[in-house]
Symmetry: C2
Subunit: 462 residues, 2 copies
């Protein structure tokens, strides 16, 4: 945990934005895999971690705005719990470390909330079904009609969007470990290995540093599948490997890096050509990072850079600005340039992208293919931490569909493209802090130039 | 998947036990970690796997008893799904492999069920909150008042309790891989390693065989903590390591083995002495396995054997039968001797222990410390697959509590015991099939004699 004052300050700042009522933060539970007592690894809710800091399951916290105090609902271990799970720090001890002295049994939460004025009871959108049930019961309402507090969402999003010095230290720790983990992946990948072997070695490395994966890693020769969690392929000479993975510190802060590199010692000439296109778009986007610029505009600039390169390669044609204005680039770059990063790898995605990545004056485009997957569009502020992650992905099914629908024949060279539909995908991703005067890349430098990657490949690890 | 006829036969057999109505099997979803799209690894519900065999999320199946047919509710991938997750076998193809030709969109499930006679709609107890919400909405009832079908629970439990030839082949595959995985753990454990390093190496090994852990493994020097999932300790000369881990085949069948061994080359004399006590109890229990005997009686015989040994060691005194009759052994063996094993590591625990491990004539003792944790008590039948797993665990907090409460001073030598409260715990566990004429240990032999373990330790792997 951070020191106590950090949590009390965060809570006081949040309370100060409300005039009356109560704020409820529900912690997560241990979710069952295939029966109640066979559970997935526990992960605390990120807003709960931010304001309370305690990582145990089955907790809830109420911030009483009128009294200016915090109540923690949860249970101490019984002797049966100790037999099965071992003695741990008591809940009262953990609460004290968060500056909380009022501790009540968890089963009093419901009655306590029932007695509170429900019109001024603020809560965030639940994403785990367990908490949906609890709130549905509390408000006597179907779970799909629950009304989370927009005021609370906005207040939490505003606070969590601007990272403090302590948070940046944690985020840099997460990036530093991820950088070494990525180097290991580049150096150990060789023809004959399986994807999961690389993933396992990275997990092992992260655990040696006291960390864990911040999300299920994407380690795949089929990088064109954007969220590909299958890792059963053997990799061969000539394949690309896309590694999108990051770690989480013990306090819950995440990193999120991607590198794409040859399985053998060198890229093929087409791979190198397209890698350079992505790298150029990456650098074009990186240098634009600064407070006051809309991230959507940086996204569109990166798209233009990608199209310019794709025209050079021969996959596209025409004018790059027109192509992007018509969304023709989305055949190759179907997703967004980046997202906020913090206690969640897609920071605060549970609060709703409209509130976190956009603003009332800049609503999200939820229809256009490509833009609808851009999680962050609004004007950047100093203190934001985010990813930049352009890519080029050749998806055979999408190409076939667009061609059948005669989409963007002015911009896409279907005949040439169709000769390379087995290409795969390339993505490059780093993590950034927006500063008053521009940006700072978080953590150690991870090789990204072609020659730098080749040097790592020449120093293979067995 | 098994061949089609296995699923159709299983469904027909189940349907034949009902005269009218419908049977609903809800599949699992991908459960969120810290926001909706960051999800835990998907695991299909085991009864769904048993009757339908399809491992994809967001499916439901209805067995129409009157028409004798099966309907599968689920959705084919959209082009957006393909962009993010890659093209896979179609749902229609998967359904055909299960002998199902009627496929309907998932969002028609609710209306379909609403139109069905809800008094003859049978469903199993939901354990994932997502399915609790769906059923609560369907029956317009609070989730804690849902009424799963006892008739269906009993029919499913009866069918899944008797393993077929194909299932036994799968279970033996799972044991064989777990045996090699355990040998690796014994051979790689040495002073200076961390628990998670051993756990990671095992995971890697299992994945190399196309399998995964069947439950979060317990790999700990603090074996007295029964469900200890923390693996951050470094292990030292003189420590014991308890390794309780198993794997799951691609069809979902589990193994569940435990060995306890020295971190260094040899046990200390007290460790060896207590290991022999547990091994003797283990063999006493093993040789009793046969159809017609109550597993609770085997459990009690094993408890007696443990007490006899503990008297020799000096931790207990008096008559072993009296000690067990008075539940004094539960200070050292707080849990049960074993449980059913199959598609779940605690097979069908989601259906309720009373229905799965006990019977109307043999209800479970839910009060007595020790017996309340015995998951299986009823008479064994040929075709049952189960674990045998006696152990001795020295839990300081429990010892202190019993002594303060003056419990069982006639049977427990507190003064001598208190000198060894840092001992830890020892468990030995193998998996068995009950046959017409006795039992068969499943899979390859895993070293359990002290000298056999020493030979493995002498052949260390780096």
């Amino acid at each position: 945990m951070f020191k106590k004052e950090i949590y009390t300050t965060r809570r006081n700042e949040l309370i100060s934005k409300f005039s009356s009522g109560k704020i409820l933060f529900l912690g997560n539970i241990e979710n069952p895999i295939n029966f109640e007592h066979n559970t997935y690894p526990f992960r605390q809710d990120s807003s709960f971690l931010y304001y309370i800091g305690i990582k145990s399951p089955r907790l809830a916290a109420v911030l009483d705005i009128d009294l200016g105090e915090t109540l923690l609902f949860g249970d101490e271990m019984t002797i049966d719990d100790i037999v099965w799970m071992g003695q741990q720090q008591t809940l009262a001890e953990k609460a004290a470390l968060s500056g909380i002295s009022k501790l009540l049994p968890f089963d009093q939460l419901f009655d306590y909330l029932k007695k509170s004025d429900q019109n001024t009871l603020h809560y965030l959108p639940p994403y785990q079904s367990h908490n949906k049930i609890l709130l549905g019961k509390l408000f006597n309402c179907p779970v799909d009609l629950l009304q989370p507090s927009i005021a609370l969402i906005q207040a939490v999003a505003a606070q969590r969007s601007i990272k403090s010095v302590e948070e940046i230290i944690e985020l840099e720790k997460a990036v530093d470990v991820a950088v070494d983990m990525h180097r290991l992946a580049i150096q150990m990948t060789k023809p004959g290995r399986y994807e999961y072997q690389i993933s396992n070695a990275m997990q092992h490395f992260a655990q040696d540093q006291g960390m864990s994966f911040s999300y299920p890693p994407i380690v795949t020769k089929r990088g064109e599948i954007l969220h590909n969690h299958m890792q059963f392929h053997q990799v061969h000479e000539g394949d690309l490997l896309l590694n999108d993975s990051g770690v989480e510190t013990s306090l819950g802060y995440a990193s999120d890096l991607t590198r794409t590199f040859p399985v053998g010692k060198r890229f093929t000439s087409l791979q190198e050509e397209i890698y350079q296109v992505v790298l150029h778009a990456f650098k074009s986007a990186e240098q634009l990072l600064s407070p006051g610029i809309r991230f959507k505009d940086i996204h569109l600039k990166a798209c233009e850079a990608l199209v310019e390169g794709l025209i050079q390669v021969g996959f596209m044609k025409g004018n790059s600005q027109d192509a992007v204005a018509n969304h023709a680039h989305a055949l190759f770059f179907q997703c967004g340039l980046g997202h906020l990063l913090g206690l969640d790898v897609h920071d605060m995605e549970d609060l709703g992208e409209q509130y976190v990545g956009y603003s009332t004056s800049e609503p999200k485009d939820t229809k256009t293919f490509g833009l609808k997957s851009l999680r962050l569009g609004k004007e950047l502020e100093a203190g934001n931490v985010l990813t930049v992650e352009p890519g080029i992905y050749l998806i055979p099914e999408l190409t076939q569909l667009w061609e059948q629908q005669n989409l963007h024949r002015d911009f896409v060279n279907y005949d040439f493209l169709k000769k390379h539909l087995d290409f795969g995908g390339i993505r490059i991703e780093d993590n950034y802090l927006i500063e008053e005067n521009g940006y700072r890349r978080l953590g150690k430098y991870l090789e990204r130039e072609v020659q730098e990657i080749y040097r790592l490949k020449d120093n293979a690890i067995d």
